[in-house]
Amino acid sequence: MMLVKALLIALYAGLAGVDLFDGQLHFHRPVVTGAIVGLILGDFEKGLVVGAALELVFMGMVPLAGAQPPNVVIGGVLGTAFAILANLDPKVAVGLAVPFAVAVQGAITLILTVYAWFIHMADKYAEEGNVKAVEFINLAGMIPLFVFYAVVAFLPLYFGADAAKNIINSVPQVIMDGLRVAGGMMPAVGFAMLLKIMLKKEYIHFLILGFVLVSYFKLPLIAVAIIGIILAAYSYYNGNLGSKDTEKEGVSDGI
């Protein structure tokens, strides 16, 4: 039975790995992965909850300017699967999944370096005017990615699920509790990565506002998002954006 489940999860992981780069419908995000892996393993509800916890961790870990973040696909798939199979607290699963995702990304970087070979083949076919071959070379790039993700998801699930369960059960309680604490804090890493890119002196008050609206006023996320959009619209129509885009007018004071 585990073979069928592991194969289904491997199929999903392969498709999700391709979706990370191509198509990009974003069914590879943990919030979706959790539900699907949960469905396959027969615990939909737990899958949803673990997927949501993983989503928050991976939220800021996006491919910015070519830098490769921890792998969200494998982190989501294995994090959810181990949480369900080894009956882990979602926070412990987060603590386990993220280091795994970091390791897998190393392998992906290697694959994408080797891929330069594809593009040299495309050069050759372009020279010959072989349009079909140039098109095929591009699409064929998805095959190794699919296989890689499917295999990386399948092996630990099929051969390692019991072993992983035993290992996890033999880990001292203090470490498991520590992982739970670390998993609870882990979203801070993603949020800090978002801040690193967006935060500028003239915008700090928006960050504080969002924080205060939840901490004191207990507003749900969607309400805060709408308030953010209203503030952006207000800034736009009143022309007081920190960095002026109307360079030709040469007015530099934003207020």
Binding site: L25, M59, A188, F211, A225, A232
Partner: protein, 267 residues
């Protein structure tokens, strides 16, 4: 520059939408040498094939040149595709085509990062996760629907805008980049502030005994500022990132910190 006053347009909706669909495979042969070059040619080919139907030499020249390094945001490649297709159709100089392509990919990559990866993804995925974390199956569905309405809206708007506006789009896209990034930062930061307060789990069980009195540290902290620990911790990690530590190292530090803090009963 009335570039769209071109009366004998070759390209129709058919080629334009074919380019838009193909742009979903912009990164199929992504590699560190030329990044999206293979996918860029693949996406542009419906236009090139039609424009250079009976001119194989021209087609070869165009394909070879478009296999040069290319990288932009995958959701915002269609405006560039549209503009370049219009230029190819008008028979513009190859140098000019290359110049425009290179001039656009950077700014559009920047806008894309700001509005997609830093604003729309955190907001839509955050909404989905806020439902899913309560076991509500609408979470992932809401995320997929909201995200893809914006995704496909941008892709299909872009191809029409780029092709119809042609080179006139150049100035607008480049100067608009800053405004859009600023607006995205406002929405994004407001939401990140809310996420920090909502989803970082840090409460200390510490109790201080002072003579007869016992003081629960978490209660005191909550009275000063609720969610103070998550805020301080996020700013600490932000500082580490600013110092140049890699995310992988920071994740390692967080795991160790969690175990040590638990061991000493701080968390």
């Amino acid at each position: 520059m009335a570039y769209n006053s071109n009366e004998n347009k070759l390209l129709t909706k058919k080629e334009l939408y074919s380019m838009a669909w193909r742009s979903l495979f912009l990164q199929a042969s992504f590699n560190y040498e030329r990044m999206q070059a293979g996918g860029w040619v693949y996406s542009l080919l419906p236009a090139l094939k039609k424009i250079y139907k009976d001119k194989k030499d021209e087609l070869i020249k165009a394909m070879k040149e478009h296999l040069e390094f290319f990288n932009t945001h995958p959701f915002l490649v269609t405006p560039i595709l549209g503009i370049i297709a219009a230029m190819e159709e008008k028979g513009e100089d190859r140098e000019a085509i290359r110049g425009v392509k290179v001039a656009l990919m950077g700014p559009l990559g920047g806008i894309g990062d700001a509005i997609i990866w830093l604003t729309i993804l955190p907001i839509t995925a955050g909404l989905g996760a806020s439902l899913a974390i309560q076991g509500n199956p609408l979470g992932p569905i809401l995320f997929l629907v909201l995200f893809n309405i914006i995704h496909f809206g941008l892709v299909f708007w872009g191809i029409n805008y780029g092709y119809n506006t042609g080179l006139n789009a150049l100035a607008a896209l480049r100067t608009g980049a800053k405004t859009i990034s600023a607006l995205a930062s406002i929405v994004g930061l407001t939401v990140v502030g809310a996420l920090i307060a909502s989803y970082i789990n840090m409460k200390t069980p510490l109790v201080i005994h002072a003579g007869q009195a016992t003081v629960e540290v978490q209660k005191v902290l909550d009275e000063i500022l609720p969610n103070m620990l998550p805020l301080i911790f996020t700013l600490f990690i932000y500082w580490l990132l600013k110092k140049g530590l890699s995310p992988s190292k920071i994740i390692g530090i967080v795991v160790l910190f969690g175990i040590v803090a638990k061991y000493f009963g701080i968390f």
